[in-house]
Symmetry: C2
Subunit: 148 residues, 2 copies
DNA sequence: TATTGTTATACTCTATAACTATA
DNA sequence: TATAGTTATAGAGTATAACAATA
């Protein structure tokens, strides 16, 4: 998602445009780092996302689809590939025999942990900011997202 | 790219983690809006990106690939589809007969413009911030990205 | 009847490798 | 010989529709 440094500035003020562009850059960098981190473990982005999700909490296939905002039919293939690599397994749900719970294996958990650690987006760019600046950034992002 | 609210807090302080999570949310929302905006014009994300790119300046196929950070062979298909829909055309480069310049048609330009306008990511979330806050956010993002 | 997960199908994006036409 | 663009191929993600098992 390259920032498209709008020549159609028409209706938005230059400051806002500049901020949007900066956000676009952040988004692009976030993605690159995510893909690189996933690639280091020979995982695709989607696989890394699912593994990261399951490492927090096993869940039904259906719920994975909701989290990923995609059709449930797609999750079948993604989990198939993770399962083929021994990173995830499907368990029956005692409460509902229609449901299959996807859960990480031991190796899956290790991979997920390592993945999180290699995602140094957490440290590198933010390390340049002081504690006060991070607090300020947190506040601004919260307001932007309407969470505060 | 769902924010993975790290239970592996291990080595990073909670404030940084929280900011990272907020950025993840921004990234996710940015994407959703981009896809929705593209979908309104029956374009895929990649097609919308290329069209947006070309609407700023026609360029050789090779250069599109560099901008998209993908292999040149992929660009052929994306431009094929845009061309089939009459949004883009390939022109010879007078200076080098190996090169094909991809350029938007009139309709392509209109679509690109409309696409940019429906990308209200520029306005909605940022509208919640005062001018001062936007200035502050710009400064923080610049420092984060090492641009300032 | 409704829901969960799967299969089948088709399209797009992606990388790799081999080809062509220029340079 | 090197470069620009293309083709061929294969893998992965995506949506849609239809299906089996279970609720």
């Amino acid at each position: 998602m390259a920032p498209q440094n709008s020549s159609a500035a028409s209706r938005v003020d230059p400051l806002t445009l500049e901020v949007v562009e900066l956000i676009g850059t952040v988004v692009a960098r976030y993605h690159e780092e995510y893909e690189v981190a996933a690639g280091k473990h020979a995982l695709t982005g989607a696989q890394a996302r699912v593994l990261g999700l399951l490492s927090l909490e096993p869940m039904p296939m259906r719920r994975i689809a909701q989290k990923l905002k995609c059709e449930p039919s797609n999750v079948t293939g993604i989990v198939d590939r993770l399962e083929a690599r021994g990173l995830v397994e499907r368990r029956p749900d005692p409460a509902d025999r229609r449901v299959k719970l996807a859960a990480p294996t031991e190796e899956g958990l290790r991979t997920a942990r390592s993945l999180r650690e290699s995602l140094d987006f957490a440290r590198e760019p933010l390390a340049q900011l002081s504690r006060e600046e991070r607090l300020s950034l947190r506040g601004l992002l919260r307001r932007m997202l309407g969470e505060a």
